[in-house]
Structure formats: structure tokens, C-alpha cells
Amino acid sequence: MKKVIAREKLPELWKSLAAKGPLFLPIQEGPVVLFQPWQEGAEINLDAVNTAVSPKDVFLPREETYMQYRCSGKQLELIPAENIEPVTAFGVHPCDLKAVEMLDKVYIDQDPPDALYKKRRENTTVVGLSCSEPDPFCFCNEFGVDPADAPGADVMAHLKNGSVLLEARTDKGKALLEQAGDLLQDGSKETAEVKDVKTADFGLNLEGLPENLKERFEDPVWDELYKSCLGCGVCTYVCPTCYCFDVEDFGHEGEGQRFRCWDSCMYGHFTAMAGGHNPRAGRKERVRQRFMHKLQYYPEIFNEIACVGCGRCLRSCPVNLDIVQAIKALGGETVEQR
């Protein structure tokens, strides 16, 4: 099913979608664009190549309460408190959707499935958005992502001159377009003006990299690579394929809640044990963990590198210690390049 909507009609479409349930989309928040819930007056920015933080928030919220407790005397009552409603994610770029599919493997495919994530994923209708202009940090081509198409989207949106072409790919997608009713016009004869989007060529050669890294846990390259790392968590929080979380209680002896929230393997306390021992005590161990997870551990389990080339770590790392630098340092560079 293909439909078309004039760009100036989009706010109406968003309003009608938001009336039915939370609608997440790229919103200009001061100087940055973030994937956030629509509200009246929000400044939607579909032209932004990438949101500062990935849309993984929609599926794996940065904070999610799933239990309440009540305590009195010796009694303890544990009450499930998850709150998952149908949502629409509008304007997810192909790289970010590919990343969500990587999270699916961990959270849905790998037993036992994570019920919270799974439910959110099933309850979300994804409107993918093709990219027309990459920015200098985009390098999704390296990972076989087609910037013009997000295969896993329920609806694929293409920005055209003055209009947007919406193509439903799944039943959920069709339902979404049907709901929109008169706002949309028939687009069966329209075609997406697909550009051949070339993203940055950093000269990477990923062939066999995960396999090669298997023996390189103790490689001296780690002694150098980590040095500039400040030990903040920027890379992990902006990254669409990072999925670590923490579980914490909030409340007092009488009543409160338990939630999970994003956590980062770059933090020292991430692996610190109660007795004081910490298996990843230094920045070197933590930097190695992060890059090895992307480039070796995840691929070992799921047969693909856990990076989609969205470029967020290149854009946001305060000291430019990003995955491209890591791949190059680890020998994943085309030989002719240097």
C-alpha cells in the first residue's frame, strides 16, 4: 500500500497519530535533535540525518519501572507495574532500525526473551525514513545498510520534493495508513526518488575481523588505544546497539518501586563486586570490553558486527575515540589505504 502526503500536512498526520498513543519522532530540542514523544508545539525535524541519541529509547527506555513494592512489618508485597502501550516511532533511519534488529536478537531471540522489550517491540509501529544526505560521520555503507531503505519498517517513508511517500510493508503499517484516512492520498503510482547515498569511506575492511580478534584479547594494541578515553559513557548512551542496563530500587522501607535503566560498560562500578573486586577495574579493560563486544563477542554469538555505522560515537566522543579508530587500530583497515 502506498500513500502520499504533502509535507505541510504532516503536522496534522502527527497530531492524529499522537491522539491514538505516544508518537516518537525526531524533535528539535534546543541545539540538538532527539527522538522524543510528540507534543503540541514540538518542532519536528525530519531533515536531521541522525538524532543525537539513537531511537533505541522507544524499545529499551532509558528508565522503566516494572515493579512496585509495599512493605509493612514482615510483609512484602511485590506488584508488577510495567506500563506498555502501543506507540508509533516515526522517522527511524535504516541504520537505527538495523540496530533495533540487533537488539531483538539479544532481547527476543535469545532465551529467555525479555518480556518488557518484546512487548514494546510488538506494540510499536515503525515508520522508517530513508536518508537523502549523509553527514560526514555516516558510514553505514560499510555495514551493508542501504540508507534508502529500512527493510524491517512497518511503513517506509521517503521525503520527496514537497511531499512524503509512505509505503506500508506490514499489516501494522497498513493499519497505520488506514487510520490516517483522508489525510493521505493514493500514492500507488508514485515512486521514491531514491538517491544513491554514499556514506563516508573510512577504508575499513571488516572481512574476518571478528575471527581475527578472537586471539587478540591480550594484544598490546589495547595498551595504547584506551589511553585517550575519558571514561565517560557518551559512546554507550548514544550508540544504537548498546543495550546494557542496571536495576535499582527507589523508595523507602514502606513503599517504592524497582526500575531498570541504561547503564554503561565504560563505568567502573558497572562490574564492581560487593566485596570490592572488579574484573574490569581500569579504563583499558573497559575500552577493550566495549570494542570487543561490538567486534568479537556479539559477532561470535549472532554472526554480525554490532555496529551499523550511524556515526554517533564519531560525532559525540569528546576525544574522538570512536569505533572507526578502534577498527583501524585492530587491523580492520583496507591495506591500500595506508
Binding site: E29, G30, P31, V32, L34, A52, V53, R62, E63, P136, F202, E224, K227, S228, L230, G231, C232, G233, V234, T236, Y237, V238, D246, E248, F250, F259, C261, W262, D263, S264, Y267, G268, H269, R283, L314, S316, P318, V319, N320, L321, V324, Q325
Partner: protein, 324 residues
């Protein structure tokens, strides 16, 4: 390419290579180019080969002094390239007894201010191939030709109102000083915020802080945040919860800023490091402004001998509350 500085980077290299190769220092902290001409990242140089990568151009924003905290564990004597802010950061660490003066050789780089790639792009209005610089002007090489702009209009926010571009402490000054600057708009945003009503101000901060990811880049990049254990990680009592609640956002950012009272060197690395562009520097500058007003002018990091204002007092100090 950013070809401002072929000569100057050679001069820097010359100065440091004698010391590094002659064994006077074991390590040089400098910068090297990143993936693009408008990126520079820290360089940890130990050999002549490493030094070939050395960069000194308009994109060397990263404050290097902070790396001393880690590197001094493995090295006896370290050379550091210091801009004005890096040198103040060094003094800050010195005052906190985190480093010793004789462990470090400082190569002073009077700094013209670092350029902001986003501003360059905006100015170029399209693909930007590179820049050249001369006499306070920047020539942007764009597809359709060249475009000229004032350098001062293209600076990083953190450099815009820098008052002390020259290193306050160094062993060797590699270029001629820039001289002290006015920084006329340093407190402009603070003053604008002060003009607002309490409600408006709270709304402003609530909105700005709502973007906080709790990635702690601001803390990790900061030369005054050198505590072995930050209150954020403290248990029993647990001060900082991990939830993304407005209350927790304020807790972190107010305390982070407050811990910099009289210690913040105004380098702006916190704000530059923030992936969601929270105007953190305004919190720091508010404290700088108030301390100056209440207890006399003080610029953290300018003089390591001068007592930081919160470590001293005078019996006749004024107070920001009624003392009757």
C-alpha cells in the same frame, strides 16, 4: 585541509622532540589529527615516529592536563602542550595536590581560540572542503569557491569569551603571547538568566537538564572533577539515583557545578563534551561571577599560589543571606 600551521606545528615538534628523544621527558601529551581535518584527538607520544603525527591547529580543543592523573602513574616525567585553559587546568590539579610541578614540563601555546566545525559548516552553507587562516580571518573553501569570515565568529562557545588565552604557567613558551582579553560576554547569559523570574529560570533549567543522559562526560572531561570517588558513585548514603527524573537531574548538575566553586577554570570542556549540548558552563560561570562579587576577583588556575576562595575566609566577609 586546515593549513594554518605547518610552520607552527614544526616549531612545536622541534621544541618537544629534543626533550622527548633526549630523555628529559618520557611522554609527550599533545594532539594528532582525527579522521577529518577538523578533528584533533589526544596524542601520547613516546617516539620520533609518534611525534610525526603531532598536530597544532585550530581544532585542538581537548584539554590535555587531565590525562596527567592517569599517565603519571606510569611515567616519571611528562611533557604537556598547554593552551591557556590547559595551563589553568594544570594549576588546578597542582592546587589539589594531584600532580607535582617537577613531574611535568609544560610547553606553553598561546591560543587564538579553537574553531567550531558546526559554525564553519553553517557559514559555508554546504560542503566545506577545508579552510585557510590569516590575520584573524578564515577563508572557507567551498565547492563554489572561497568565502571569508572573521575568525572570532567561528570560535567554539568555550573559546568565545576566553580571557586568558596565554598559559599562566609554563616551562617554555613556544609563541608570542596573545595578551589578556576582555571576554565582554562571558557573563551575558548568566545575567539574562538572573533577570528571569524564579519560575522561568526553573523552567529553563528543567528543560535543559531534561536532556541529560547521565553519561558523565562533563565530569570526566573536567579538570576540577578529580575526586577518587565522586558523590555520584557513593553508597550509603546513596546521593545520586540513576533514574532520569528532573529531581535527579538537578541533584547531579547543581552539585557538580557547586563542587567547582572557586575551582572551575572556565575551560568549558564540560559543555563541549556534552553530547546533548546542555549549557553547563552557565552554571559554572554563575558561581564564578558570584564568588567574584562576594569575595573579590578570582580566576581559578591563574596563580597556583593564590588560595582558592572557598578554602579561606575573612572575618568581615559579606554573606548572600541576612546576618542580622
Amino acid at each position: 585541509m586546515a593549513e594554518r600551521n605547518i610552520e607552527s606545528v614544526n616549531k612545536v615538534r622541534e621544541a618537544v622532540s629534543q626533550d622527548l628523544l633526549g630523555g628529559r621527558i618520557d611522554l609527550l601529551l599533545g594532539w594528532e589529527k582525527g579522521h577529518y581535518w577538523w578533528q584533533s584527538r589526544p596524542l601520547f607520544a613516546r617516539s620520533e615516529e609518534d611525534l610525526e603525527k603531532l598536530a597544532w591547529d585550530s581544532f585542538c580543543a581537548v584539554n590535555l592536563s587531565r590525562y596527567l592523573l592517569e599517565e603519571l602513574k606510569d611515567h616519571d616525567k611528562i611533557g604537556v602542550l598547554v593552551k591557556g585553559c590547559d595551563a589553568r587546568a594544570f594549576n588546578r590539579l597542582l592546587q589539589d595536590n594531584m600532580v607535582k610541578r617537577d613531574q611535568v614540563i609544560l610547553y606553553g601555546l598561546p591560543c587564538p581560540g579553537m574553531l567550531d566545525y558546526n559554525r564553519l559548516i553553517e557559514k559555508a552553507g554546504g560542503a566545506l572542503l577545508g579552510i585557510t587562516e590569516e590575520n584573524g580571518r578564515v577563508i572557507l573553501n567551498i565547492e563554489s569557491g572561497e568565502q571569508e569570515a572573521q575568525r572570532d565568529d567561528l570560535l567554539l562557545d568555550k573559546c568565545k569569551d576566553c580571557r586568558y588565552p596565554d598559559p599562566a604557567v609554563y616551562d617554555q613558551l613556544l609563541f608570542s603571547p596573545q595578551g589578556e582579553k576582555e571576554g565582554p560576554e562571558r557573563f551575558k547569559t548568566v545575567e539574562e538568566l538572573e533577570e528571569m523570574s524564579a519560575e522561568e529560570r526553573f523552567g529553563y533549567w528543567e528543560k535543559e537538564l531534561s536532556r541529560c543522559l547521565r553519561c558523565y562526560a562533563c565530569r570526566q572531561a573536567c579538570p576540577f572533577c578529580s575526586c577518587r570517588e565522586c558523590f555520584v558513585e557513593q553508597e550509603n548514603p546513596r546521593w545520586q539515583g540513576r533514574a532520569y527524573q528532573p529531581s535527579e537531574n538537578f541533584m547531579f548538575h547543581l552539585v557538580r557545578a557547586y563542587h567547582g566553586t572557586g575551582r572551575c577554570i572556565d575551560c568549558g570542556e564540560c559543555e563541549r563534551s556534552c553530547p546533548v549540548d546542555i549549557p553547563l558552563q552557565e552554571l559554572n560561570r554563575k558561581l564564578i561571577k558570584d564568588i567574584n562579587e562576594l569575595y573579590g576577583d578570582y580566576e581559578a588556575g591563574l596563580d597556583a599560589e593564590q588560595e582558592p576562595p572557598l578554602l579561606t575566609y575573612r572575618p568581615d566577609d559579606p554573606a548572600a543571606f541576612s546576618e542580622k
